[in-house]
Subunit: 138 residues, 6 copies
């Protein structure tokens, strides 16, 4: 079993808030991250996949294939987008980095699985000091 | 003459567009950066000041003082804000990183000057691959 | 279960040595790290906490709260301090990065626990090439 | 149990290809990485070792000793070398980063073991976006 | 006048040597960098362009256009190539990072000029510790 | 004229204070950096040298030679040392990063000059946010 990781980037806008709360209540809970006029981040995404080596290629999974899968399933939905308003898999969810990491896992898992590998983790840096990691529903 | 640099960070939303153009025209010129629902960045700001060393402190300018000046004049206006809608010194300007760097220079210059030093440059990374530097009006 | 990490920094002086050994003996075992007149580092600390997501906030634990906890329990004791002479939880211990990571774990664990989350790991970089990680007493 | 990591670097040339395939077939499978005239990388290697703390030194294993072991067993074979043509432990293997990480594990494992510690992982970055990690044959 | 920088990467093989010298003589002068079986690097390229801001876009030069120019003129010749054997603009030259930076300048200068901006510098990192910068023939 | 930079690291202890002032006065001026029991840093040093290319080597100056010069003249005095107490060229000076950069320039300048090149700048990072650069006495 070998673990391979592909690192990608996307830049998005978001806001932390609950619709049923007032702006004051959201400010109390989420601080400046609840600004109603949005703010944004350069997210750094690391996707780790594990599996046996292919005897033909010496790869777990071609990292270019993994990169393309991440682009199709994740980056095209998120990059230069508003996470609260434009991302189908985040509809109705709080736009926390935790929920975003779980959502990205669910977008990627079927494609990694059908390639014959196992999705191991999704790691998401909102800033270089704030990092979320999700290992699936276990 | 010695040069000192303070590095700071802020996270903002913005959009590249001209009000007088249609969304299609803005898309043609600015690409996905013109998304009407915003996107954002973790900006990295480096402010460089030059001057003679103080014989008392061995400093050009106390970097904690420079950090406080950047916080008061720049970060409080920009961090977790919408650059197009909420930042006084960007009103009526295109929210390009170039214009942002020039605006930050103008916000900082009087304070650096009145501390007895010379503002040398404002360097702004929008992403780690896109960097703007401004050395003042010369 | 989701994992969240907060990265912090502190700058300290230390020395590797055993009081019962001569300077020569300490030099033989610890090399230049035993210099009796001290040396120091910019330590990079990463604290990882795991737990379920709060249905209210979408957070495992508010990273600002974790940051404040690290500041109160760890940074105020260590930053700009002499690890051998000034840090209560290191009294009587060798000031190795290993012991420092274990000590930081013990300072943080009660606070993380009483917030309803689980402390997963303490990762400490002494330099970018020398890294220690501790997952608790198991 | 504490985990310690030493980071090292080496610069090598390599090529991804199978001898029994034509250049066209290799190009189809491995893309530009199969260029017959080679290309190369600045590899970043992280070796993680785990164990109990020595009561004498407060170390799991002296990181200078680990660094020397990596130098003798790995860097002297790989640094400024052609991985396909000059590295004994890669003879007859595809020069994928996966195989390289497994090979480095096998070169290091006896030395770490005889020092009384346990080799935990070998992590190899081919580029900052492509990362392989191996935890041994389990 | 504002300065804009685009950062790009390429991975190549090379060798430092003079054809008219023996392998021993090359080894004496260039050390392990003269290995006849090649080695390679992940080069980091930073291209800085200066100019006035366009009143339409707020840009000195669209960084996507600069990125495309670097790709066409430089990366397609260098990435996953052997610098000594496959790069037209390095024919007959020693493959030092200095000569490579000068060669990249000459490849880029006409395109930057015809875009209405001024090429200011080419900065090339061979490793993170070895950096070359060229400001043109002045 | 081409510019070459070598990056090196050293880890030292220091304290900002004036002997003629009380601890309270030093605390008022220098803050926690005046702690009488020291603190320390992982300094990052970048030395830039400029010159014409040698027609034999294609180098301005062999970066391994520059690295050795920095090691002999600077690192051996500073690494794992107390800057206030053990570094000859800092005797009687405030241990600010500014004074340290000037001192390093003076240690290196004769050796760079006698190699036939010109010392262009000494850049010293005390932390990743606090950076000093010195271009000589002009």
């Amino acid at each position: 079993m070998v673990y391979i990781t592909r690192k990608e980037h996307f830049n998005s806008a978001h806001r932390l808030f609950r619709e049923e709360y007032s702006d004051e209540e959201n400010l109390r809970i989420f601080g400046k991250c609840s600004n109603p006029l949005w703010h944004g981040h350069n997210y750094v995404l690391q996707v780790t996949v594990k599996g046996e080596l292919s005897p033909v290629t010496g790869f777990v999974m071609d990292l270019k294939v993994l990169s393309r899968l991440i682009d199709e399933k994740v980056l095209q939905q998120l990059d230069h987008r508003n996470i609260n308003l434009e991302v189908a898999f985040m509809k109705g969810k709080l736009a926390s980095t935790e929920n975003l990491a779980i959502g990205i896992w669910e977008e990627l898992e079927p494609g990694v699985c059908s390639s014959g590998s196992i999705l191991h983790s999704v790691r998401l840096e909102e800033t270089e000091n704030n990092i979320i990691e999700y290992f699936g529903n276990k």
